[in-house]
Symmetry: C2
Subunit: 389 residues, 2 copies
């Protein structure tokens, strides 16, 4: 088995659990937040700083890396870990979400998706097999099947079609993954395994993605079909796409319940710090989201006192740390008025420091959640977070 998942603590009241996810690049303590390193870098962060922050696993985007620098180049460089000098686990998405967001450029067919590069307009085709092939070339520890993610709101018919297609694609991905040793699977080309002796295909895990929008019947159909295919982990896709938050929580809980207890559950693209706590309570183990990093670049910090908009004039003479309750390197050294000055002046260091702090805030939230689970105190922690700052 490429990955193994152990549950080390189970909350008595909620569905929250703490686990250990063993991957080819080491173990990950769950629940875990994965920072988004779109193009092989978490914008503004050095890999050594991510390590210091305690980042255990990164997400990288297949769409971006496929287009630039290209998956063959990364494969020949010895895989993404080696290319970007990141020794810890990596999860790659399938590229489908980006490709289908490129409207009107993305066109979904039974075979796969035709799309045009946002960089140069060139035409490309992504199939379930191709998505597996590209991700195997990137060499991630966990890879995702190609799925069809539908916008909110959508008709039941649209959702049903997407669930069916996602199921058929999951089957094809599973077959491609099982038959190929990774290379030469594709429908568009068939490269031989790399000549680079440094590249060791990390024998990744393949996760299936449950779709179905906010329709519980469809969620059940989707989950059951994927369970028949027996994936090493399951993701919840198509959430946090515009539906009300209460509905997101409800569907996440309902869907998580359908999935086998002993397999990791990944809620894609979620969310705020509160969402992390709420969705851990509903049985989720893995999360990724651009919020902490993207907001940081827009001068918005997550703190124990709520959001701090650093460009705000009220901080011009505020010499307090960004978050007085925070122990991160940024809060221990820098002040709000300096951070504001950096953002107002358009200095890179503003984004660098805010990204560091926001990631620390997310990771620290997760550490507190896990610690409370290990101590059997998750319910109290959950209640404190709900009460707000």
């Amino acid at each position: 088995m490429p990955i193994q998942f152990e549950i080390v603590a189970q909350d008595k009241v909620t569905r929250a659990r703490a686990g250990l996810l063993h991957t080819p690049h080491g173990a990950v303590e769950t629940p875990v937040f994965m920072p988004v390193g779109t193009g092989g870098t978490v914008k503004g962060m050095r890999q050594e700083d991510l390590e210091t922050l305690g980042v255990q696993i990164l997400l990288a985007n297949t769409y971006h890396l496929y287009l630039r620098p290209g998956h063959e180049l990364i494969r020949d460089a010895g895989g993404l870990h080696r290319f970007m000098a990141w020794p810890r686990p990596i999860l790659t998405d399938s590229g489908g979400f980006q490709v289908m967001s490129l409207k009107p450029l993305g066109r979904v067919t039974e075979d796969g998706v035709w799309f045009r590069s946002h960089l140069d307009g060139s035409a490309h085709f992504l199939s379930p097999e191709r998505a597996v092939e590209i991700q195997l070339a990137l060499g991630a520890d966990i890879i995702m099947t190609l799925d069809e993610c539908v916008e909110y709101p959508a008709s039941r018919e649209t959702l049903h079609r997407a669930v069916s297609l996602t199921t058929r694609w999951a089957e094809r991905a599973k077959r491609a993954f099982a038959s190929g040793s990774g290379f030469g699977i594709g429908d568009l080309d068939s490269e031989p395994p790399t000549a680079n002796p440094e590249f060791r295909a990390p024998n990744p895990a393949l996760f299936g993605i449950v779709q179905g929008g906010t329709d519980k019947d469809l969620r059940r159909q989707s989950a059951e079909a994927l369970l028949d295919l027996d994936f090493e982990g399951y993701a919840l896709g198509g959430l946090s796409v515009g539906e009300p938050k209460s509905e997101m929580y409800d569907v996440a809980e309902f869907t998580a319940e359908l999935l086998p207890r002993e397999r990791p559950r990944y809620l894609m693209g979620v969310g705020t710090p509160e969402d992390l706590v709420e969705c851990v309570a509903r049985g989720i183990d893995l999360f990724d989201c651009v919020l902490p990093t993207r907001n940081a670049r827009n001068a918005c910090a997550f703190t124990s006192e709520g959001k701090v908009i650093l460009k705000n004039a009220r901080y011009a003479r505020d010499e307090r740390p960004l978050d007085p309750a925070c122990t991160c390197a940024v809060c221990r050294r820098y002040s709000r008025h300096y951070l504001r000055h950096l953002f107002v002046s358009g200095e890179m260091l503003g984004a660098i420091l805010a990204t560091h702090h926001n990631l620390h805030f997310y990771l620290d939230t997760m550490r507190k959640i896990r610690q409370s689970l290990l101590l059997g105190e998750f319910a109290e922690f959950h209640a404190r977070v709900r009460a707000g700052p």
Copy 2:
């Protein structure tokens, strides 16, 4: 005395010397390179990384900080060290160079310079007294007199006028510096000393600036006039403004010779790594230059094998470190093809890592120079650098 300068080694062949410059914020080993932190940040670098790199003293630009966030704000924040969380020495320039570069917005009169902000077009006046006042509010360890820097080439008459004006301004700056305890000197406003108990005026040193272009007679006149005023250190201004390199070296050597041996000598705005070695050999102790940081942001790295233009296609599959001979954190971890990918993709991390490496290269060059001076081996080091990579 706010600063004290000890010479700890003197080369037997050249005029190179190693020293210790004691400042209110600690001692600086000379010869030294000062990275440029224009707006209170060395672009892309965290202060903790500058410390790790061994940066001993930073340069900050009075013009930029005066306009944004304003010197009063920085004074009220407890001074620039505290504002930007940098505990080591800082040198500020007078603002004159930037103001006079803002043509046609800068207008030089006997009193000072009228200029318009590049940010909002507002009108401002900088006089020798005002430049001292602003720098005292910033709280640097070493501050500079306002001088008139002339473009190359210039007529002898223009150069002569600039030397005379620079001399009169130096006298006024010296008087303002001596009479004021820092605050309330200005001609435009007169703030009381700050109410912030954290602000301790660091009792800075004031350096005079020798002008005269490439005209040795004028350089001599300028130096002699400044020596009469007895500054705690002397800068060489108006070099590296377009004159041939050989002439720059020649004038630097000639001018350094005119200055007292026991005072530190600062060559402003110079230069390449080779320039550092050549000008140390001519008796210079302090340097600043935007080259390592600005070039880094433009994907140009200084290495032991010469310049590496990281966007070049030849590095697309080059998995070697940026500089195989370098021991910096970037060269120990990252590869050329990854750095190229970052720059081609417009990722911040490219500038961050290249800046780190380039600063390391400059600082390391200086450490090697100083070490060779302490060991009495500067001549050999000098010869090796001249021989090239």
